[in-house]
């Protein structure tokens, strides 16, 4: 009987071996996957097992943590001035994960980041609770306040940069929401609040970060890019010389004329005048003369057609690659498919203000460990050089003329040189919806330009005729610039 017994012994051994292989597969091979599965509640439990690190502006914390007794989650995130800062901080919700800075730096804020390993180990050995790191942002509280209050009840967005470094100074989007309302009080209210914020239930889409994640047709503000392309490609060299611009100007391959907004002195107008009064014909003609590829190349040097990581992702702005000639002409004046985020247009203004050198935009100055050690410090980096310094100065003169005596007079600040460009972009088929009012600008002091800003106001209760970048958007840009200049 011993032969079958030995075989049964082997069989029993194989059963145990199969189990051992299986647990190795489950716990070792697929372990990480299971541990981080989105339905595995441990992920959120760990996320909120310790007080979350703060996101800091200046020396003020935007976020905090409070204990939530009687819950799986020990702590929840709190937000000061939530609606104002939501486009920067994003949300950190027990039930709905995280977004923006709270999302990008989740591991750092929870203390789980590999770079905090030594802190964790020391805390563990000394019996202290695990602590999260701090994210110190580049934002300017006064500029943010100016942007947010400037937008007020209107739907729109503001992005402001320091042209010299690329540091983001303001990032506002309205209508906004309070991340505290979904951070985790009770499952029921959170769910109700969350659903009320979703686009499907709320046409205003308050959780949309319009400064980074919404592309708008930039309208006339894009003419700055077209002017830059003309200068860079040697189409024109003198901003005060006459251009070859017929009026009326018939669109290529079409029987339609490209119209200006009103009876403007655009026939063969110089670049300076054309920008000052915002001639469609002059810049449309430049688009036709340069062709779509040169136009696109210039736009891409400013950052178009690429996502930008600040490190929060900003959507790619668009200058189309494949289109016919008349579409390219319309694209050159910021219509047709051309679309840009407010951040992108702020980058355009910043590049010109910084003598042609575009700095990589960023919103995190440094990451700080709980023991105040700086773990990571962002150094300003050059993104590209879309225009030469000489051409940049020409463009500055043109933009300053716009503010001094053109469509952008609302942005004038006493004693400070301001350059800008208005825009009023069509919206909807046959311009049936409220147009978008744009304004991009920069301010200049003795030591370079400390601020460039882009403002877009999506719609308004004002009548259609009143909507213009100069009327609605320029005053907001002015307030933001003043806030940065300490005026």
């Amino acid at each position: 009987m011993n032969k079958p017994l030995r075989r049964v012994a082997v069989f029993c051994g194989l059963l145990v071996l199969a189990l051992l292989i299986r647990v190795n597969y489950v716990q070792f091979v697929t372990g990480d996957e299971l541990a981080n599965d989105k339905h595995n509640r441990r992920v959120s439990i760990n996320q909120f097992a310790q007080p979350r690190g703060d996101i800091v502006v200046g020396d003020k914390s935007l976020t905090g943590s409070v204990e939530t007794p009687g819950s799986d989650f020990k702590y929840k995130a709190t937000f000061k001035d939530g609606p104002m800062w939501a486009p920067v901080t994003g949300y950190a919700s027990q039930a709905y994960q995280t977004s923006f800075l709270e999302g990008v730096y989740d591991k750092f804020l929870t203390g789980n980041d590999d770079r905090l390993f030594f802190n964790r180990t020391i805390d563990m050995l000394t019996g202290k609770e695990k602590q999260g790191g701090k994210v110190i942002t580049t934002l300017n509280a006064k500029a943010q306040l100016a942007a947010f209050t400037g937008l007020g009840n209107k739907k729109g967005a503001v992005a402001a940069l320091d042209p010299r470094t690329g540091a983001i100074l303001a990032l506002a989007s309205t209508p906004s929401y309070d991340p505290s309302s979904i951070a985790g009080t009770s499952k029921k209210t959170d769910e109700k609040n969350w659903l009320a914020l979703q686009k499907a239930n709320n046409p205003d889409d308050p959780m949309l970060n319009r400064a980074l994640r919404q592309v708008y047709p930039p309208g006339s503000t894009f003419k700055v890019v077209t002017a830059a392309a003309a200068l860079e490609n040697g189409l024109y060299t003198d901003v005060d010389a006459e251009t070859r611009s017929p009026l009326p100007y018939k669109l290529p391959q079409s029987s339609r004329n490209l119209e200006n907004e009103g009876d403007l002195p655009c026939k063969n107008a110089s670049l300076r005048v054309a920008l000052k009064v915002s001639c469609n014909t002059v810049f449309g003609r430049i688009g036709q003369d340069l062709g779509k590829d040169k136009m696109r190349e210039e736009a891409e040097k400013f950052g178009f057609n690429k996502e930008i990581l600040t490190p929060v992702r900003a959507d790619a702005s668009v200058y189309s690659k494949n289109m016919d000639e008349p579409s390219n002409v319309l694209s050159a004046i910021g219509q047709y498919n051309t679309a840009a985020t407010p951040l992108q247009m702020a980058m355009v203004a910043a590049a010109i203000a910084n003598d042609g050198k575009l700095m990589q935009p960023y919103m995190v100055d440094k990451l700080q460990a709980p023991n105040l050690n700086v773990i990571e410090q962002t150094k300003p980096e050059t993104y590209s050089q879309p225009v030469s310094a000489a051409n940049a100065q020409k463009l500055q003169q043109m933009m300053e003329t716009v503010v001094k005596e053109g469509t952008g007079t609302n942005a004038q600040i006493d004693g400070v040189t301001v350059g800008g460009k208005t825009g009023t972009a069509q919206n909807g088929v046959g311009n049936s919806k409220n147009p978008y009012a744009w304004f991009i600008s920069y301010a200049k002091t003795a030591d370079g330009s400390p601020v460039a800003v882009a403002v877009v106001v999506e719609d308004s209760d004002a009548s259609r005729g009143d909507i213009s970048g100069g009327g609605l958007a320029a005053p907001i840009a002015k307030k933001v610039m003043e806030a940065v200049l300490n005026k």
Binding site: V16, L19, Q27, G31, H39
Partner: protein, 460 residues
């Protein structure tokens, strides 16, 4: 044995290994005590209040069991008692650890400790009363009747969570007669097969290279097959039917040494399983769950998925005792059917493999006992008990880890459940009794003057 004999008869000097057992038992008690302390420190930052009582209690149980083995089964296998003690002790720690989660209902560790005590009492009783395992042979057909009654009983009681494997006695609680039937039916098989093995093995026809049994010999196996299918259908208990059928096939194979029985057994059980799973929705759900463990059901995370998450989150070394979240599995089974998930999460892959190896070791010691046994009944009984134990461990652990569809059985010793722990202590006691008989040295020859180095030759 006097030392003077060693030079003459070598088989006589087999050491009893009782001191090995005692040394191992010290560890088997200390490890759960440290684990218990660990849970308390992790959960509350202080040593648990019941630590001393728990340690003394477990030590006392192990000590009594050891003394009884020393007295009544001195040559028994030295590994089985320590392994059973360690698994039982760790099981108590895990159940107590899960008792600390308010979401999992009332505390069950105290009752489990009581059941464990009863289990050890039965262990002692078996060793004291059952002087020789061959006595059981007399009760072959009585065992059959008792086993059948035990198996059929749950049909008349309401099912719990879809499986009718319980007998509810008001005021006492519920019993799982299947756990006891497992042992009693093994006694019947061993007795029956010992008598019939020659008929089953020799009277066969050769067909396609296989020795096929005669129709009349096929009778018992077909009856068993039908019975296990009936258990499956009426008690919706996949695990128990698999266990009994597998047990019978293993014992038939050992008794007859005919591979054809295995082929037969596999074909029949596969056919039965497919047949039943097609119309029995309870079984079908289990299979669906097995194929898609992480799928959401009605928008919620299933217990199966929670179990997988627990294993995955445990990773290599686990979260540490008391620091896991296996309570998320919820429901009523984290302390019983799903206890391995807590082991996997808190002790990690390393700890879980350790526990599985302990089971593997216990099973192989049982098989070794079968090999060493000198009588066919003892061999069949030992292999039947160890085989049943192995199948149960495989079916439960395989089910919880998603290797096979989940069935409603409990991990021997580890999981919460009175019937299981009592029955398994009895099972270990019988194995110890068989191994004691097997390893016991042959009775010493009557003092013979032949053994004396110098002697006077008497010629009478």
């Amino acid at each position: 044995m006097s030392a003077s004999n060693t030079s003459t008869i070598s088989s006589v000097g087999a050491p009893s290994r009782r001191n090995t057992e005692l040394a191992l038992l010290v560890f088997a008690v200390l490890i759960p005590v440290f684990a218990y302390a660990n849970v308390g420190l992790a959960k509350d930052g202080s040593l648990p209040a019941g630590l001393l009582a728990y340690g003394l209690g477990l030590g006392l149980l192990a000590g009594i069991a050891h003394l009884i083995v020393r007295k009544f089964a001195p040559y028994a296998d030295p590994l089985m008692l320590p392994i059973a003690t360690l698994l039982n002790g760790m099981g108590l720690v895990f159940i107590w650890r899960l008792d600390l989660e308010p979401s999992l209902g009332k505390a069950m560790a105290p009752t489990q400790l009581m059941w464990s005590t009863l289990g050890v009492a039965l262990f002692v009783a078996v060793l004291v009363v059952l002087k020789d395992h061959r006595i059981l042979q007399r009760y072959t057909y009585i065992s059959m009747v008792v086993a059948l009654v035990l198996l059929i009983m749950p049909v008349f009681f309401p099912g719990i969570n879809g499986a009718k494997i319980w007998v509810t006695i008001p005021g006492v609680g519920s019993l799982q007669p299947g756990e006891f039937a497992k042992i009693i039916i093994t006694v019947f098989f061993a007795g029956y097969l010992m008598v019939k093995r020659d008929a089953l093995a020799l009277a066969s026809r050769r067909f396609m290279g296989l020795y096929l049994p005669r129709g009349r010999d096929l009778g018992p196996i077909l009856v068993l097959w039908v019975l296990s299918l009936l258990i499956l259908v009426f008690e919706t208990d996949l695990g128990t039917s698999l266990l009994f059928f597998g047990l019978f096939v293993i014992m038939l194979y050992v008794a007859t040494e005919r591979t054809s029985w295995i082929v037969f057994g596999l074909v029949l059980s596969a056919a039965g399983a497919v047949f039943v799973s097609t119309f029995e929705h309870h079984v079908k759900d289990r299979v669906d769950n097995w194929l898609n463990p992480l799928a959401l059901v009605n928008g919620g995370v299933t217990e199966t998925a929670q179990t997988m998450y627990a294993f995955g989150s445990g990773g290599m070394f686990g979260s540490g005792l008391g620091q896991g979240y296996s309570r998320l599995i919820g429901g009523i089974a984290p302390k019983s059917d799903y206890i391995l998930a807590t082991v996997g999460e808190e002790l990690g892959l390393a700890g879980l493999m350790g526990v599985l190896l302990l089971y593997g070791l216990l099973i192989e010691r049982g098989v070794r006992t079968a090999l060493a046994a000198r009588d066919p009944f003892g061999k069949l009984l030992a292999i039947g008990l160890s085989g049943a134990f192995a199948l149960q461990v495989f079916v439960v652990a395989g089910g919880v880890t998603g290797l096979i569809p989940l069935t409603g059985m409990t991990m021997p010793f580890l999981a919460q459940g009175g019937s299981s722990v009592i029955a398994n202590w009895a099972l270990v006691a019988i194995l110890l009794r068989i191994s004691d008989t097997a390893r016991r040295p042959a009775p010493s020859p009557a003092p013979s003057t032949d053994a004396e180095p110098t002697q006077v030759v008497r010629t009478q």
